[in-house]
């Protein structure tokens, strides 16, 4: 399973970087979405993928688990990361929409001199 996941993660990273390097700002955001998924899968894979019992102690029990159990922490990390990425990407989508409205281009190559304020207010 791990080698397969490694290729999936690598493929996602490659696709994400390709998309970020494109000129369209829509593709830029798609690239960012892919990038966050790639990072989450990388955590999932790196933290070890193996079969195991649910990491629960039976009610009233105090003994640690004897049978090998799954590690719950990577899932908690990924869940946190998904929520954060969701919020930030929502912001990014709104931002590129506003940027498109205000600047009037969706081509990043043309968006490199709009910050030169020449007029004297």
């Amino acid at each position: 399973m791990e080698p397969l996941m490694a290729f999936v993660v690598g493929g996602l990273f490659a696709a994400a970087i390709y998309m970020i390097l494109r000129r369209s700002i829509i593709k830029l955001v798609i690239g960012l979405i892919l990038l966050s998924n790639a990072a989450n899968l990388a955590i999932f894979t790196a933290a070890g993928m193996r079969e195991g019992a649910p990491p629960l102690i039976p009610a009233g029990g105090v003994e640690p688990m004897i049978t090998p159990s799954a590690d719950p922490l990577p899932q908690a990390l990924i869940l946190t990361a998904i929520v954060i990425a969701f919020g930030v990407l929502a912001f990014a989508v709104v931002l590129i929409h506003r940027a498109y409205e205000i600047v009037g281009v969706d081509d990043l190559d043309e968006m490199n001199t709009t910050d030169e304020t020449k007029e004297l207010k």
């Binding site: 990038l35 990388a42 955590i43 790196a46 049978t67 930030v88 004297l120």
Partner: protein, 526 residues
């Protein structure tokens, strides 16, 4: 009161202030009052924390009472406490400045709540002892900074924000991946525990992970060759926001590098720290050359931030030198920390001055400015002192910061890097003199539409803007003339950083769980 609760306040107070300001969304006046009260509280809490940390040693707070390494810990050592103090000072002064400069259009769209959230994020990043928690605080800080950056929604801000958001998200994802790999290697997220475990992990992956952290934090710090988002965005938002960003945000990246590369990645210093050293040298030179080519007040200052980051990286990178004497290593790290503190104060101050100039003459372009020395000598003085301090002239704070780093560099036999640092210092002076000549010394065009503004006496708003500038100016002068106690503080902090066992001991990983990979049935990968 329990001592460890002190660590919580610098994070909790701004969060509470943010929440209360959101409730009072419709009343800008109430938000202003909360702003001043909240940041004064933050300042007081940060001073208290520093005093307590100095007296009692490293203070650890276990969140929810989970013992480390299972729960998240907040740790205040001297470096963290000093950095949090800077958050307090910056928060307080910038909010005072905002009273005069943040207009209705910003205040009604959440200027103050975002400001508080930014303080909370930065303070959290400085205090946390958990690497994943560090990522979370970084995101809190970034989201607040994204929103502050586009507040007002002007045309130039959009372009800056697109670049800033993209590159910071990329850096966050690199950081997140690095954290995932760290967890895979060590089975823990507690920084002290990671440091302990990495001593026993003998794998080339350790250096790979170290490089990922270096790239991620390097982007946030604005080091060569990862800095290009910074000059694209820092000059676009409202000036108080620029000032806060310039003071605090890149320094969080620098802090994270100092923390991670003294605590965790000390296995292969000749490789990792040498990269930091040379990245630092090139960073300072490219930054200062970039500034030399600019003719816009805030752009010059923004690009200068990069060159200043170079000195901090250089200080950290000096640890790579194989035959660096013990004392020189301490001096390098202490100098680096002193440099961060000095730079936060001075850089913010220069941005604040640029805002006053903009208010008077309506432009940031150097060619549209002039005549300030003749008509407003006091304002010219307020620029002159921090500018000279930035360039490193004695007896101001910049001189002692540079002196320590350069002397440590000489003792470590890194002559070439020291030469870079000295040339950069000279060129810094050139840039500051350029601003001085154009904006302050040269006469103003007779047909300048704002000429009358210079001859009028200062109104009350201008004096509100002067107050934080004067406060920060006093900080610069005191840090310079009365630098010994501050230097002792940074030396003590360097001693803590260079002996990670103190930090690890203070966090207190229990003995029976210090080998999670063997002992726990499924506590992480192999």
């Amino acid at each position: 009161m329990q001592l460890d609760l002190l660590v919580l306040f610098p994070v909790l107070l701004p969060m509470m202030a943010a929440a209360i300001s959101v409730i009072l969304w419709r009343s800008p006046l109430a938000q202003r009052i909360i702003g001043v009260v909240g940041t004064s509280g933050l300042l007081a809490a940060s001073i208290w924390l520093l005093v307590a940390t100095r007296r009692e040693g490293i203070i650890t707070m276990e969140m929810s009472g989970f013992p480390p390494p299972f729960g998240i810990v907040l740790v205040s050592d001297l470096l963290s406490a000093l950095m949090v103090l800077m958050v307090g000072i910056m928060g307080f002064t910038v909010v005072i400045y905002s009273l005069a400069t943040a207009g209705e259009e910003y205040e009604r769209f959440g200027y103050y709540p975002l400001m508080h959230l930014l303080h909370a994020g930065v303070a959290g990043a400085f205090l946390t002892g958990d690497i994943f928690n560090l990522y979370v605080w970084f995101e809190v800080m970034l989201v607040a900074s994204f929103a502050l950056l586009i507040l007002g929604g002007k045309r130039p801000q959009m372009e800056g924000a697109v670049k800033y958001v993209t590159i910071n998200l990329v850096s966050s994802m690199i950081l997140l991946t690095a954290i995932g790999l760290t967890y895979g290697l060590t089975g823990t997220l507690n920084m002290a525990h990671i440091a302990q475990t990495f001593q026993e992990v003998d794998s080339p992956m350790v250096t790979v992970v170290a490089m990922m952290y270096m790239v991620a934090f390097g982007i946030k710090a604005g080091s060569f060759p990862l800095f290009f988002w910074l000059p694209a965005s820092y000059h676009t938002p409202p000036v108080a926001v620029s000032a806060l960003f310039a003071g605090l945000l890149t320094k969080v990246g620098a802090y994270a590098l100092f923390r991670v590369f003294t605590l965790i990645f000390t296995q292969d210093v000749e490789f990792t720290h040498n990269i930091l050293l040379w990245a630092g040298a090139i960073t300072m030179l490219t930054g200062v050359l970039g500034a030399a080519a600019q003719f816009e007040f805030r752009r010059i200052l923004s690009i200068h931030i990069i060159s200043q980051i170079g000195y901090m990286l250089m200080a950290l990178g000096l640890l790579a030198s194989p035959d660096i004497p013990e004392e020189a290593a301490h001096l390098a790290i202490a100098g680096g920390i002193f440099y961060i503190i000095h730079n936060i104060v001075v850089k913010t101050n220069l941005f604040l001055v640029s805002g006053v100039v903009y208010r008077l003459l309506g432009s940031y372009q150097l060619k549209d400015l002039g005549g300030i020395y003749r008509h407003k000598p006091f304002l010219a003085f307020l620029f002159f002192v921090p500018a000279l301090s930035l360039a490193g002239l004695p007896p101001l704070s910049g001189f002692f910061a540079k002196f320590a780093v350069i002397r440590a560099g000489l003792e470590a036999y890194q002559g070439v890097v020291v030469a870079f640092a000295l040339v950069t210092g000279l060129l810094t002076l050139y840039s500051m003199v350029k601003i001085w000549m154009y904006a302050f010394w040269s006469p103003l065009d007779d047909d300048h539409p704002r000429k009358h503004k210079l001859t009028e006496p200062n109104d009350a708003t201008t004096w509100v803007m002067y107050t934080p500038i004067i406060l920060l100016l006093i900080c610069t002068v005191v840090l310079g003339i009365y630098s010994e106690p501050f230097f002792e503080l940074t030396l003590a902090s360097a001693a803590e950083l260079l002996d990670p066992s103190q930090y690890i001991e203070a966090v207190g990983i229990a003995d029976e769980i210090s080998h999670p990979i063997e002992d726990l049935p499924a506590g992480g990968g192999e």
